[in-house]
């Protein structure tokens, strides 16, 4: 939960709500990019950027090398797997019958 995970922003899904699609090790989901909005507020400039993602929020832009290094450490700690599993669980939670 606290360590987050690196991901690459692939598209903008809702510019007004500052939501974007991100790819984390092949798993895609929607995240909020309000905390890393570029100067001038052009959200499209984020496409292709790497970011550290915490519970669905991009918290810091990082470069690709840092992203790869961070992912490797998180894999060794078992945290990356847990994070990706949590993303899948999150999807399942939306579909559960209530």
């Amino acid at each position: 939960m606290c360590l987050g995970i690196p991901g690459q922003i692939v598209s903008i899904s809702d510019a007004e709500k500052k939501l974007a699609m991100v790819d984390v090790s092949g798993v895609q989901r929607e995240i909020n990019v309000a905390c890393i909005m570029p100067e001038g507020g052009k959200v499209d400039d984020l496409i292709g950027a790497w970011a550290l993602i915490h519970v669905g929020f991009a918290m810091s832009r990082i470069d690709e090398e840092e992203a790869a290094k961070t992912l490797e450490i998180l894999m060794q700690l078992g945290e990356a797997q847990a994070e990706i599993e949590a993303m899948r669980d999150g999807k399942a939670a939306m579909e559960e019958a209530s």
Binding site: I31, D89, A93
Partner: protein, 381 residues
Amino acid sequence: MKYTDEFRDPAAAKAVLAEIERLVGVIGATADAPIYIMEICGGHTHAIFRYGLDKLTPTGLEFIHGPGCPVCVLPMSRVDECVELAERPDVIFTTFGDAMRVPGTRKSLLQAKADGCDIRMVYSPLDALELARRHPDREIVFFALGFETTTPSTALCVQQAAAEGLSNFSLFCNHITVPPPIKALLDDPHMKLDGFVGPGHVSMVIGLEPYEFIARDYQKPIVVAGFEPVDLLQSVLMVLQQIRDGRAEVENQYARIVPAAGNPVSIAACEDVYEPREKFEWRGLGEIDKSGLKIREKYAAFDAERKFGIGYSKGNRQTPEPEDCGCGDVMTGRIKPHQCPQFGKGCTPEQPLGALMVSSEGACAAYYQYGGIRPEVEPAA
């Protein structure tokens, strides 16, 4: 030094380790009179055990594992209140998966789910917000916990819910902040601390200023650190260099991620939505002044405490810890995890008694997983 082979840069790690060893000697620390360095963040605790850094560093250096694992410091009474909320038929209770197995006095959230409560493990508070849009006839409560790294996510969700006029979304707010427990530990006369390894991702949000009091008022060094083994070792070395020089400063080893001023958007959102509680209970540490956050009056409609008439301020809800549970003593460094009478016996990662055994970021769980200490199977009587 088998672990260093696995490091990204073993040569760098060995060089830093050699310098740590030399400095510990220069300072004159020994196994009997060691330097005590606290790593505050649970992620760092996990990494220290995973890479065996506690074994690679000299005996004159002791790591004290700090209170930086939000799941580990969650009081049982708060879990009880989660279960209370989840038992309401109109509620869909949403939570990070990490909180599911934390024991309450009655049951954990996992047990409550098995008993039929509508509890959903979500990845993000954004998922809870989406559930609120999809189920206008249900109350969606999100269990907001975590330090400053997760606080902006829930603050931004409350702002979004307000903007959309969602009336069925609320937070059960249990957010806590890093600096107050550090102050409490420094004020504890039993605590022996010579310096700190500061949290990386919390600092990415809040910046460096909130730690200034540690250097200024307590004359202790603190170095904000990354999560790679070499990051951690370098940070320890920087703390030792300060001790050798008689300096006490806030330094940033993780500048590639941590800007000195933090993240301004996050800070503004948290400031808008939250204010400090007068005090908040930490499992194992007791009540600490200004250490928890509550939702401001202007967002009262999104506060599950106000909405459902429960919460921290409602009477005395403090609950005693289970008998023989040593979490408090471990967290203040008085004992090592395996010295707790319940370690590996009444308390295991599968059946946690104390919270430090629940999360992989808890000192006891990390010790259990990597410490090489396993419970002896007792023959059946």
